[in-house]
């Protein structure tokens, strides 16, 4: 076992992680969004999106239109929210948005941070929804919400590495 062989083995393993990570970051830079692919976690946009749908985001639009579906993040809350633009006000420098979930009775004022009565397009948005895949993201919901599923899946992955090369 010499040093070159050891480095080669290390690299084969490291490439798996590094290439996936760099691909993700590249997608983030291209779309100008820190998480360009998100999974819908709530039913507040039904019937447009169900829990578990995967959304593809784009954050290089200059302005949003009323009716666009946007994903935003509120300071201090780490969960991104997918809702539709209900109202917008803009001048040449900035755009302010009010959003509402299609399936919600009222707009999002109560979801925003204290004393915040609008979203600042430049600051708060993660992206505009440009495409989606139904249901496939449900697996991440299962993993995060169902502990039996999580360990069951881990067990299966472990078993598969024993039986398949």
């Amino acid at each position: 076992m010499n040093l070159r062989q050891q480095i080669t083995q290390f690299l084969t393993l490291a490439y798996v992680f590094s290439s996936a990570f760099v691909a993700w970051k590249t997608l983030g830079i291209v779309t100008n969004s820190h998480s360009p692919i998100v999974v819908v976690l709530s039913g507040s946009m039904e019937p447009a999106f169900q829990r578990g749908d995967i959304l593809f985001l784009w954050n290089r639009d200059k302005q949003q239109k009323v009716g666009d579906i946007v994903v935003y993040e509120i300071e201090g809350k780490s969960i991104p929210i997918v809702h539709r633009v209900l109202r917008e006000h803009h001048n040449s420098e900035k755009q302010l948005l009010l959003t509402k979930g299609d399936n919600n009775a009222v707009d999002d004022l109560s979801l925003y941070a204290k004393k915040q009565s609008y979203l600042n397009r430049k600051e708060d948005l993660i992206g505009t929804v440009k495409g989606y895949l139904p249901f496939i993201g449900y697996i991440t919901i299962l993993i995060s919400e169902n502990i039996y599923f999580k360990y069951g899946l881990l067990g299966l992955v472990g078993l598969s590495s024993v039986f398949f090369e």
Binding site: L11, G28, I29
Partner: protein
């Protein structure tokens, strides 16, 4: 020697090829060639560079927000792309090259080896001798130089390869 005492899994064509590739250095020593690691070291260096860049980018990603780290992320991705591109190009130009060596007169030898697929237990080998552009392309069955237990028989392999080299030398005379 210890490396000869290693058993190889006879059911894996890939393992057999790798075990044989590992022996090329010592085999070519018998023909008076000293292995040159320049190409391998450049490739390893580029590989390590890409992993280091990705690792540093991961730390930056943990520590700073997306907007703060935007520029450094762009720079890292460009560097990463450059290194992997170069690596890809090197691998493309030196397809399957497993060994490069020089003898005392400075004559270069390059050896490329491959197997067709994982069900074909045949070792394909292409040996190119430097400036005179002599080339030996041949193939041996693995059974010819691995015994039933999975030990590599170096003397047998040297004999097989030597026979092929002699043919070329005769032709060029």
């Amino acid at each position: 020697m210890s490396s000869e005492l290693k058993k190889t899994n006879l059911n894996s064509v890939n393992d057999l090829r790798q075990a044989t590739d590992d022996q090329l250095g010592q085999v070519m020593q018998q023909f008076g060639y000293e292995e040159s690691f320049a190409l391998i070291d450049i490739k390893l260096g580029l590989g390590v560079a890409t992993v280091v860049i990705a690792g540093l980018l991961f730390l930056v990603d943990k520590k700073f927000t997306f907007k703060e780290s935007y520029n450094i992320t762009v720079i890292s991705i460009v560097l990463y792309g450059f290194c992997s591109g170069l690596l890809y190009l090197l691998n493309f130009l030196n397809k399957n090259v497993k060994y490069t060596g020089y003898n005392k007169k400075g004559r270069k030898v390059t050896i490329a080896t491959w197997t067709a697929n994982k069900f074909d237990p045949i070792y394909h080998i292409s040996v190119t001798f430097g400036d005179r552009k002599q080339r030996v392309v041949t193939s041996f069955e693995f059974t010819k130089f691995f015994d039933v237990i999975g030990f590599f028989n170096r003397d047998k392999f040297i004999e097989l390869l030597g026979n092929e080299f002699e043919k070329v030398d005769k032709k060029s005379l």
